[in-house]
Symmetry: D2
Subunit: 422 residues, 4 copies
Amino acid sequence: MQHALLQQAARSEPMVDVFRNVRGKTLSLSAPLELDDYAVQSMSDASPIKWHLAHTSWFFEQFVLKKYLADYRPLDVRYERLFNSYYQTLGAVYAHEARHLLTRPTLTEVMRYRHYVDEHVDKLLTAQSDNGLLNDAATLGVHHEQQHQELILTDIKHAFSRNPLLPAYRSEELLQPGLSRELKFTQFSGGVKMIGAELADGVGFAFDNELPRHRVWVEPFALANRLVTNAEYLAFVRTGGYRRPEHWLSDGWDAVNREGWDRPLYWSESLDSEFTLRGMASLNMNGPVCHLSYYEADAFARWAGMRLPTESEWEVATENISVTGNLLEEENFHPAPAAAEGVVPRQLFGDAWEWTSSAYAAYPGYAAGSGALGEYNGKFMCNQFVLRGGSCLTPRDHVRATYRNFFRPEARWQCTGIRLAR
Amino acid sequence: MQHALLQQAARSEPMVDVFRNVRGKTLSLSAPLELDDYAVQSMSDASPIKWHLAHTSWFFEQFVLKKYLADYRPLDVRYERLFNSYYQTLGAVYAHEARHLLTRPTLTEVMRYRHYVDEHVDKLLTAQSDNGLLNDAATLGVHHEQQHQELILTDIKHAFSRNPLLPAYRSEELLQPGLSRELKFTQFSGGVKMIGAELADGVGFAFDNELPRHRVWVEPFALANRLVTNAEYLAFVRTGGYRRPEHWLSDGWDAVNREGWDRPLYWSESLDSEFTLRGMASLNMNGPVCHLSYYEADAFARWAGMRLPTESEWEVATENISVTGNLLEEENFHPAPAAAEGVVPRQLFGDAWEWTSSAYAAYPGYAAGSGALGEYNGKFMCNQFVLRGGSCLTPRDHVRATYRNFFRPEARWQCTGIRLAR
Amino acid sequence: MQHALLQQAARSEPMVDVFRNVRGKTLSLSAPLELDDYAVQSMSDASPIKWHLAHTSWFFEQFVLKKYLADYRPLDVRYERLFNSYYQTLGAVYAHEARHLLTRPTLTEVMRYRHYVDEHVDKLLTAQSDNGLLNDAATLGVHHEQQHQELILTDIKHAFSRNPLLPAYRSEELLQPGLSRELKFTQFSGGVKMIGAELADGVGFAFDNELPRHRVWVEPFALANRLVTNAEYLAFVRTGGYRRPEHWLSDGWDAVNREGWDRPLYWSESLDSEFTLRGMASLNMNGPVCHLSYYEADAFARWAGMRLPTESEWEVATENISVTGNLLEEENFHPAPAAAEGVVPRQLFGDAWEWTSSAYAAYPGYAAGSGALGEYNGKFMCNQFVLRGGSCLTPRDHVRATYRNFFRPEARWQCTGIRLAR
Amino acid sequence: MQHALLQQAARSEPMVDVFRNVRGKTLSLSAPLELDDYAVQSMSDASPIKWHLAHTSWFFEQFVLKKYLADYRPLDVRYERLFNSYYQTLGAVYAHEARHLLTRPTLTEVMRYRHYVDEHVDKLLTAQSDNGLLNDAATLGVHHEQQHQELILTDIKHAFSRNPLLPAYRSEELLQPGLSRELKFTQFSGGVKMIGAELADGVGFAFDNELPRHRVWVEPFALANRLVTNAEYLAFVRTGGYRRPEHWLSDGWDAVNREGWDRPLYWSESLDSEFTLRGMASLNMNGPVCHLSYYEADAFARWAGMRLPTESEWEVATENISVTGNLLEEENFHPAPAAAEGVVPRQLFGDAWEWTSSAYAAYPGYAAGSGALGEYNGKFMCNQFVLRGGSCLTPRDHVRATYRNFFRPEARWQCTGIRLAR
């Protein structure tokens, strides 16, 4: 992980406060769950909530406490293996798909572990508030924790969707239906553009995969003013979109047939409602379609006579746009209709992650760091596509214009949607 | 389920007391578990403890309350599908392998369900203590519950064994090592023998698969005085038993290679300890080997120059022997060494289920009942082998000489062992 | 293989003539095929015709030439592994499912191998026509070759059925439709019966799994006068037989759903024609239904309110009945309608193998021989059911009343049908 | 397929002669095979030679004869489905993995089909030698045929490698060992570069995926003077390259463990020989390593402290280099050592396809054509990596600097190797 700390100096908040807030946020996000919900793992890509709570603590233990706290003694050395997600260089990793088997440590013990780690990190950050390397490591831990906040919500949503009782994470009323907004396009000029995170003195944070900032050649392009809506996607479904191979990538067509896909992941068979974190809800025709694979996003775009943007195009279009929108802090937990008319692209941040047509790859000059943190991002640069912009489940201060999320093209359990380009 | 109630009249205990005792026993067996342990399902053959607790209640609801309690209203009609194990004639069955996804109803709600059913059955049995058909149905429910008591223990043992922390169900000292007992054989005469449960006036209970009592021709045979020990099985392992195809059935040899078997399920790689319900324990050389598949039992017998008994032989040998031994009530939770010297067969009841060489099949004249209970036993008469005698996890008043347990030949998570014949 | 040679003395034909006839018959059965057809393997249970031709030669090489011909030198020592089917004690076995990869040796070379073996066996049998052990070994080879004659036809039928061009093995007219014959039952008395092949001086041949002749207790039973017809099975299909779980064994119901079965293997979707060795033919309503799994045979019997016979019952009923019927020599290559009215069981030999409800198991006192031939039959006594009576693809002098064929309950590519009992 | 015909005018040869030569070449490449070899399909990615011979004829039938020959009548309309590879818009496609089941049409019939198509195309091209669209379509057919020429050799190599007899395609002596050449790097300048095939008046041919020619930004880079050798790769193997996860992409590490990879596809376990089209040969330490997956190429580069080139870099470096090298016409059928010392990149064409780090994607402005030919390339732009430069099995006039081959990262049966960049 060659992460960069870019605006450290400019940050008004002490690191220990950032740490406390983010760690507390994780617990408050989990609070609406029943104790039984913490243990479930509904597929091998997902993890139990209990495991997320333990693993994020493990991350601080491995990369902050063990490195910066002299004489740190782990609460339980056996956790080192149990809660290692995928850092092969730290030793044997417990099988991802078997995380649900870990009834021990119990949730109570995991909470004790979490508390133990919190106490030690808290003291360390308080005592060494000026230690730049320590603050860097803790910042990484905080961003890592935020990634798992989103995963906690997407994982529990998937598990709930598999239960015939269709439980709700939150039971209050859902979003307002909003208005229908005409699809328009803004034109952007081409040329040599700068892409990636800027390395300046003490300014902010970026993951290593956003580095280095570099030149790309971009052809002139146009980008849609909003995300594709449920109404638009429904037209694709109703006109046989899932039955006509000419819309699909070859691998996508295989997935459609192998998995029996005929609609987005959480739509009801009757095509008029969808499963949400607030239970089943009627399908909002003005709201963004979500929980689509790359294959579906790509097929829709081809059907519509357009295409998905490249990640460079997306980043060029988002330059100078501030991170606002329907993000986690809104507590909508679901994409919302575009708020305004007009040609200017809206919903760039929040609502739904936007599939780009760019395969996830190293930027020129990128090199994964050495040691375990070198495994954070680099080893996944294969068979995945880049998504941009965050979703309604992403914390606001976690995402940015240069942020590169990535998933396999068949993944549907993340809150993923479509922005068209041409 | 054409079960027969044979000694109903002779039973000294009122049915309601039997019911309360058995239902209470299930809870006390679960009591040593942490709350987290109730949710785990470590493979598709196993079920979460929470599910066992709900399903056994469901069974009384379906086959006692709905049938005999006028105006019975279920606590939650949705449970009808969730906790149906395999009764296809009652409607769509929730997928066995996905039981671990049911975080709702919560354990608290399942306990409420259990209590709700208990209250109603209790009142019903008290009010209609002379209703023979009702008592028959409740008796079946009680025996069904006892089957799940054994499953609760074998399922949690398997789940614990998959956790690198190797938790213990009970932490107190394990059994005494006992003495080494010489392997001897008793000779039994052949001829036409009667096999199966006796239908007499009001005498006891039997499952439909034990019926009807019928004639078989049995050749003279000899049966071992005790179960095969760990020491004996270790010799098989050490002399390359798992590497020489000539000992194995063809399907068994395939299983050895496909699954990488090289020792009993719970033995350590070092061959000197085994996982038990009290955690890892050193291998008791005098104790019975257990957690073997049929393939292993059969291969061992061939290697030893002997064979497994048929179920007819086993039943002939067990005639007039009372049900005593290392059964669930002893709370050993593990097979124990044979208690005495001598040629007389010991350990026929308890310790470990004994694989017979008999494929599980209908007795002549057997016909499964109509309706859902007809699915209890009959539809499994294919690709399974009969086991006899119960194990250290079987309640004493659940097993009998005519009792036919059955599992697939590759099953190893039940407490299964070997008695030799020749 | 503890095979017994029972009527050696009575045999009028010299062994060398028997050998030549059977070997020649294999080639004449293959003759209608195109060269391309010799290489195909349409599933892992089947083998290429070329492989059958080589393996049957290999069998004579291993068990006749190597044992009885001093200084025998194999044509190519590498064939020892390539054409070993499943004799693990002879060394590593080439993967069954990969037999179609063996483009070398070529068919020409395999024919040369076949010729080479034939020449040597021919000379050996001629020179030592009185060598009893040699004649025994050759007799086994001959019966083994006949088993492969049937496999050649069933395997090529399966391969042809997978080709959209639906080629025919033979193109001449199919059988006459015959007449509809009423289903009637003959009653047989029960008691202690003798089952299995008789060991007398020099009388005939039997496989080891037919031995020893032994006592069984049989209850009185009734057996149908003919095989179940296509008309009868069609009624089962049309009344939803494949959609109602109550007819099926649990494993059978799983197979129906997993494999999408809704009719016999070779029936057309329109239910009015079936694929035969003479190409597609209209479904003969009077003819026996064939190419059914055990699960289907069992479900049909249950639907019809009857059951399948046990192998003991079948053998009792067939005592003193001579081996005549629609066997391979008729060159019908397809089951034919019952030839006559009446209560007496017809079609016991030929037409279609009859599934019994008996799991394939060792007879009391059976012990597989030592060495490679001990693997011939014994190691398959698990997860298979016994079939009796031969089919229209079985050579007449290969089958007999005590003959035990066996297949897995899901197998459908053999010519298998149903005889009812009650 | 938006293919472009660029130097049509400049072509000295009439189209009909090109057609005859290429079609004849396919047959002469197949000539060393035994008849048995034409039927084999050793894995689902491969196809039988017979199928290649039919499918390439089918291609001319579909896209030349049906379109340009009035009143063309197919030899057999059923071939339309059987020999359609993946053009979904032409109707149901026969299952790829089941091509080996097609014993009919026989090889003789396929050759008749081939001849029938040849005759008609020949006449058509002769009669309408000035028809530009016809010549375009035939040119595409010719290039398509050349792709299958390479596949014929790679597919039969794979099939032979699975046969314990290890047959040889050609039996004459293999290549000279050559000399060891020092690894050196040439530096290339960065900036805006033009990539892709040039659209000029009547000049040559390109596949649609090479279009349009467009600008890219390239950073300065260095490229190796030759391919990685067996000696160099052996050092990677010997120092534990396949056992250390830090060298591997996450998906690559999964593949290593799932597939048990520990050396290149055709290397012997002893690491001193490899399977070639001339049978087993000792490993030439000076020769290029080949038959590697992308994962292995990438892991080797990381282990060596370097990286794979992007496809833009490769194309920039190859500008103005003529297509010469160890290509199919040399009839080496195996990569050869670099012929000369020096810093200038050698072996850019021929020897082994060079994995680039570029995911296979559309060039800016690319749009797949309409109709079936639109499926030729575009629908595969997902989960594949671009390879450049051709191999020892590629016809010389088939490859060019802008040519983009593509395979899944786990593919190893193509003749693929490594060129390093940094």
